[in-house]
């Protein structure tokens, strides 16, 4: 069975500072990895995904993530955050054994302050 662990439930950061949101996964087969963002009272929006190929994945809004198979990690990074990046961020994994359904981590709340 697969699982996803987001190590930080809350990450406070000042505007224009860099940020890293951590995600580790476990799975017995090849996985697909995703980061979604949820703004307050809204649905989920895909930030980026890793299916195969280059381990450094670039997404929307200046975010990127790196797939590290040996460390089973898929950490999300942004070099300089904005107030508007304040949201809930979810890491998710899927594989063929799960019917390609997404299994989500518990989320990390990013709070950007001036």
């Amino acid at each position: 069975a697969q699982s996803v662990t987001q190590l930080d439930s809350q990450v406070p950061v000042f505007e224009e500072a860099p940020v890293e949101l951590r995600c580790n996964y476990s799975s017995s087969v090849s996985v697909y990895l995703f980061w979604y963002v949820q703004y307050p009272n809204q649905g989920l929006q895909l930030l980026l995904k890793y299916l195969s190929g280059s381990t450094l994945v670039k997404g929307i809004n200046g975010f990127e993530a790196e797939f590290n198979k040996s460390q089973t990690s898929f950490h999300l990074r942004k070099p300089s955050v904005h107030i508007s990046d304040t949201a809930e961020y979810f890491c998710a994994v899927s594989d063929r054994n799960s019917g390609y359904a997404l299994n989500f981590g518990k989320g990390t709340s990013l709070l950007v302050t001036p």
């Binding site: 697909y32 995703f34 979604y36 949820q38 809204q42 649905g43 989920l44 929006q45 895909l46 995904k49 299916l51 809930e88 979810f90 799960s98 019917g99 390609y100 359904a101 997404l102 299994n103 989500f104 518990k106 989320g107 709340s109």
Partner: protein, 113 residues
């Protein structure tokens, strides 16, 4: 055009009632899902249908019954609503043949009083 649309957006009802949430996708995807997001923001899959066939049925009370009349629609019917059913329910769809990411609806906030 909204790709995955859910109705209603908000649903307030009393304990013991029966209610339905509807979901439609116009993306031509072959697989649809229902997820539940609890008060702590945790997202948990409930059901999945592929071409109208149930393929995932997680541990969910049998008061919850999904119905897929065609591959573009997946409705969720809930009988005898309980306080603990209060949550945001998200519909999602995907094309499993091309590894596309899930597309989510905007959610239905269910409040049981």
């Amino acid at each position: 055009d909204t790709a995955v649309s859910q109705t209603p957006k908000y649903l307030v009802t009393q304990m013991g009632n029966d209610k339905s949430i509807k979901c439609e996708q116009n993306l031509g995807h072959d697989t649809m899902y229902w997820y539940k997001q609890d008060s702590k923001k945790f997202l948990k899959i409930m059901f999945s249908y592929n071409n109208k066939e149930l393929i995932i049925n997680e541990t969910v009370p049998n008061r919850f019954s999904p119905k897929s009349p065609d591959k573009a629609h997946l409705n969720l019917h809930i009988n005898s609503l309980e306080l603990g059913d209060s949550a945001v329910y998200f519909c999602a769809s995907v094309d499993r043949t091309n590894n596309s990411p899930l597309h989510f609806g905007n959610g239905t906030r269910l409040t049981v009083t």
